[in-house]
C-alpha cells in the first residue's frame, strides 16, 4: 500500500472498495483526508493525530488513537501494535464504523455486529489477553469520567467495580465463594450488548467529509 500513484489510484480504490465496503467516492474522500493528516505522506503516525484539535477534548482520545495502531483491528490475526500505518489500515479501522447495509442477511449482519463489538472490546482489552480485567475496566471508566470535576477517581473505581460485579453476576450464575472473576471475556461482552442494536448506533456517515479541515 501507500503506492497510490495517480495512475493506479482508481484501480486501487475499486480494489479497496470491495475489500472494505466503502464506496469509491468515500475512499477518495478518506484518502484525501489521510493525505491531509499525514501532510502528504504515506504513513500515518501517532503524532499526526495531534493536529486534530477536537480530538484533544475527547476523553478517550488515546484509546481511539491506539485503536488505529492495534494489529488486532487489522485484517488477519495480528497482535501487538505498530508505529505507523498506511492508508489501507486506516481504511480498515474506519470500516468498523460503516453503517449496516439494510440488505444484509441475518448472518452477515451478525458477523458485522461481532466485528464492531470486537473493535470496542479491543479498546478495553489493552493487554490483549482476551479479558477485560478489572484494572483495565477501571482505567476506562476513570478516563470516561475524567472530564467531570464532580467525580473523583475513587468513585470511578467504585463504578467500575460495581459494573464488574454486575457482569460477574450476569455471566457466571453460580460462583464458588472463593472463585475469582478474572475479567470480562468477549462472550460476556457480547452478552452485555445483547438486545442493543449496536449496528444502528455505531456508525459514521462518511459523507460530506471536509477533508482539509482540522475541526476547530
Amino acid at each position: 500500500m501507500g503506492a497510490f500513484q495517480s495512475v493506479h489510484q482508481e484501480d486501487n480504490y475499486e480494489d479497496l472498495a470491495t475489500r472494505t465496503g466503502f464506496s469509491p467516492e468515500q475512499i477518495r474522500n478518506l484518502h484525501r483526508r489521510f493525505k491531509h493528516l499525514t501532510q502528504n505522506g504515506d504513513k500515518l503516525r501517532r503524532d499526526h493525530f495531534r493536529v486534530i484539535s477536537d480530538l484533544e477534548l475527547n476523553p478517550i482520545q488515546s484509546q481511539i488513537i491506539e485503536a488505529f495502531f492495534d494489529k488486532r483491528n487489522f485484517q488477519g490475526n495480528g497482535r501487538g501494535t505498530v508505529s505507523e500505518i498506511g492508508f489501507e489500515e486506516f481504511l480498515i479501522v474506519m470500516s468498523y464504523f460503516l453503517p449496516t447495509d439494510p440488505n444484509l442477511t441475518a448472518e452477515e449482519r451478525e458477523s458485522f455486529r461481532q466485528r464492531k463489538l470486537h473493535f470496542l472490546f479491543n479498546m478495553y482489552d489493552t493487554d490483549d489477553d482476551g479479558k477485560i480485567t478489572v484494572q483495565e475496566y477501571r482505567h476506562v471508566v476513570q478516563v470516561l469520567i475524567s472530564q467531570s470535576d464532580n467525580l473523583d477517581q475513587e468513585e470511578a473505581k467504585e463504578i467500575a467495580d460495581a459494573a464488574m460485579l454486575e457482569v460477574a453476576s450476569l455471566a457466571v450464575v453460580h460462583m464458588a465463594p472463593d472463585e475469582f472473576y478474572e475479567g470480562i471475556t468477549f462472550e460476556h461482552f457480547v452478552k452485555i450488548w445483547k438486545g442493543i442494536e449496536i449496528e444502528m448506533k455505531m456508525h459514521v456517515r462518511f459523507s460530506h467529509l471536509e477533508t482539509t479541515s482540522i475541526c476547530k
Binding site: Q61, I145, I159, A162, A163, P177, K201, V204
Partner: protein, 902 residues
Amino acid sequence: MDDSISCKCNWTSKYLVCLVIFLSGALWSSRDVLSNAAGATTKAPPVNSPAWTQVSPKPQTQPLPVFTINYPRIQVPFEITLWILLASFAKIGFNMYHKITIWIPESCLLISVGLVVGGIMYAVHGMPPAVLTSNVFFLYMLPPIVLDSSYFMPTRPFFENVGTVLWFAVVGTLWNSLGIGVSLYGVCQIEALGLKDINLQENLLFASIISAVDPVAVLAVFEDISINEQLYIVVFGECLFNDAVTVALYNILSFVATMPEVETVDVFLGMARFVVVGLGGLFFGFLFGFAAAFTTRFTAHVREIEPFFVFMFSYLAYLVAELFSLSSIMAIVTCALTMKYYVEENVAQRSCTTIRHVVKMLGTMSETLIFFFLGVATITTDHEWNWGYILFTLLFAFVWRALGVFVLTQIINPFRTIPFNFKDQFGLAYGGLRGAICFALVFLLPQNITCRNLFITATIVVILFTVFIQGISIRPLVECMKVRRTNRKLGTINVEIHKRLMEHTIAGIEDICGQWSHYYWKDKFKKFNDRVLRKILIRDNRAESSIVALYKKLELQNALELLGPAPSDLSAAPSLMDLQTKRNFPASDLRNMHELLSKNMYKIRQRTVEYTKKSALPNDSKVREILIRRHISIRHSFRVGSFPRTGVSKRHRFLSLPPRKNMESRSPPSRPSYTSENLLRAPIIFRHGTWIPVATLDLLILCSSIVLSAAELNNTIKQIIFRSRLFSTLFGFVRSASYTLPPGLASLDNAEGPGLEDKQSWKMTLHPCSGSRGTDLELEPLSATSSVSQLQRFSSRQERPLQNRYHQPERREHELGQQTSREPIAEGLWGQPQRDSWTAHRYSRSRDEHRPGGGNLPPSAPTGWAQEPLIQKGGGSQNHLNRRPHWRPHNPHGPQSPGQVD
C-alpha cells in the same frame, strides 16, 4: 383479583355516571362557559342578574339575609372548575383499569365520555354549550399543550433528526394542505354534490385545518411498544412543528378566503408572510428563552417563585408572538427548548421537579379537556351533512398523507444514515391522526364562510375516524408488521459505560475523518455555549453542584447495591436468593445511575436522557428519600478474596464513601446516636425559637443487632416517622417526613437465615428541616427535604462488644433528662469544634472523660444535635450547597478508641 378490579370498575363507572349527570345538571344552565372565560379573567365577574339575586327590590325593608346564594358571582370559575373536574374524573376512571387504555387510546375514551355528556346536555335543554368559540383555545388551552411537548422534547434524538422532522412538518403539511385542498375543489365541481359554492380558497383553508396531525394516541402506543427512536422522534417532532405550520397557514388562508379575488402577488405575499411568521416566532422564542434563563440566574434566594419564571416567560413569548401575529407556537417551542437547559441548571432540584410536574399537569389537563369537549361538541353542534364531501375528505386526508409520506421519504432517505424502510413509512403515514388543533381551528372559522357547518362536521368526522379507527388499530398493526423497535429498557451500568465509550469513539472517529455532521455543529455550538452562553446565563455558584453531589451520593449507593448481591454463596441464604437472583433493583435506582453517568461523562457531546414519556410524568426519582445499603459483611463473606481490592481499606469497603479525610474535613460535626428506645422517648425542647425534639429528628442510629429484629425495626421507624410527621404538623419545622420501606428491607423480616444471622445494625438518619423555613432546604433533597434520608445497614463483625457496650438505655435517658432540664443552649454551640461521637455510649463515655478537663467537648452540647448545620439558623445557604453528604461510617472501633476523637 379480576373480580375486584371489575368490581371497582363497575363502582367507578357508576360513580362516574352519577357525577356526569350531576355535573351536567350543574352545567346546563351555562351555555358559554368558555367564551365567558376569556372575559372573566380580564373583566370583573358578571354583575348579579335578577334571577339569582336574593336582594329584594326594596332593600330597606329586607332584613339581613341569613342565607344567600350568589351564583352569578362565581359562575364562570365555578363552571370551569366543574368541567375540569369532570374531565379529570373521566381520566381517573379509565386509568383505574389500565388494560382499557392499552387497547383503546385514552383520547378515544375521553371523546366517548364527551359524547355521553353531550348527549345528556342535548337531552336536557337542547342547546349546545359554546365550546371553544373564542380565543380561549389559543390563549389558554394551546400554550400548555405545546409547552408540554416542547419542554419534554427528547433533545438529542430531535437534533439528530431535525432535518427530517422539519422536512415532514413543513413540506409535509404544505403538501397535504395543497393536495387535499385542490382535490376537494375538484370534487366540488361535480354537479351532483351540489357544492359549487365552495371556492378554492375555502377548500384550501379547510384543507389546512385538516392537515394538522396530532398523534397523541399514536405516540402513546409507540412509546409503549418502544418503536425505533427515529420513527418516534419524527412523529413527535412533526406533530409539534406542524401545528405551527398549520396555524400560520390557517391565518394566511383565512385572510385570503375573505378576499374577493386573489392575485399572483398575493400568493407571493402569502409565502413571504409564511416565512416571516415562522422566523419571527423563532426570534421571540429565543429572546424570551434567554431572558428566562438569565432571570433564573438570580433566583437563588427566591426559590419559591422560581418555577414561575418558566411559565411566565414562555407564555410571554407566546403572547408577544401572537401580538405581532407571528407563529406563537413556534415562539413557545423555541422558548422552551432554549431555556430548558439553562433553567434546569440554575434552579434548585425541587423547582426543577415542580416545573416538570406543572408543565406536565397543565399539558395533560388541556389535552384531556379538548378531547372531552370534542365529544361534547360532536353531539351538540349543528351539523351539515354532505355524504360526498365528507367521504371525499376522509379519502383525501388519508391518501394525501400516505402519498406525502412516501414521496417525502424517498427524497429525504438518501440524506439519512438510517433510511426509513417501508414499515416505518407505514407507521408514519398511518400515525397521522387528527386531533385537538383541527378541532379548535375549525371552530374558529369566521362566520362568513359559507359552508362553516359542513367544515365543522367534516372535521369532526375526520377526527373521530382517525382517532377511533386508526388510533385503535395502529397498535395491533404495528405489532403485527414488526416495525423495527429499539430496545429502550434501561440497561445495566455496563451498557451505560460501553455505550458511552462507543459514542466517544464515534465522535473521535468523526473528528479524525473530518466529518461534518451534526456532531460538528453540535460541537461548535457546545463551544460557543461553554464560552459565552453559560457564562452569561448560568450562575457560577449554581445549584448543579449540589445536584451532582446528590447524584453522586445516589450513584454510590446504587453502586453499592449493585455490589451487594454477589452471585456466589447464594445458597447460604435462601430468603435472600430470590431477592438477588432477580436482580431487582428498582428501575429508579438504575435510572439514577444512568443520569449520573450521562451527566458526568464527556461533556462535549453530552447525551440527553433518551426519552421522556409524553403520556407520563417525568421521572423525578432523583429525589429519593430512603436508600438502603447492603450489609458489607455479607458482601465480604461472599467475596472473600474473590475480588481484588487495592487501596481500599476494609473500613471503607461498604462505603464508596468519600474517603475518610474528606469526611473529617468537610462534613459537619458529629451526630449523636441513640438506641432505638431512647429515640422514641426523646424529649422535645424549645431552643432558639424552635421546637426540636432531641434526638428524634436529628439523627438516629439504630443498632438492630442489639435490640431489634427487622420487624421491630420497621415498627420503630414507623413510629419515628409518625412522630416527626406529628411534629411537623404541630410546629412546621420539618418540611416533609415521608417514609417508605424499601423492598429489600421488607424482605429482611424473615431473612434470619444463615447468611444474615451475623450481626446487623441499622443506621437511620433523620434530618430536621430547621426553623429557618424554606430557602435553604431545596438543595438537599436527600438530607434536608426528607427527614429520613439514609437508612444504612452496617456490618459489624464486632457485634458482641457492640451489644454489650451500647445497650445502656437507662443511663442514656438519665443524661438526656439532665441535659434538657439543665442546659440552655449556648450561642457558640453552632460553631463548636468537630467531635466524633459514634454512638450514644461512645458519646456519653467520651463526654464523661472530657468533662472534668473541660476539654474539647463543650459541656453544653447535650447530644450534639445542635451542631447539625442543617438547622443552622441564619447561616449562608452556600454552606448547604456545598455540603457533602454525611457519611458516617459506623466505626466499630469507636468505643474502644477514644483516641480517634478529632
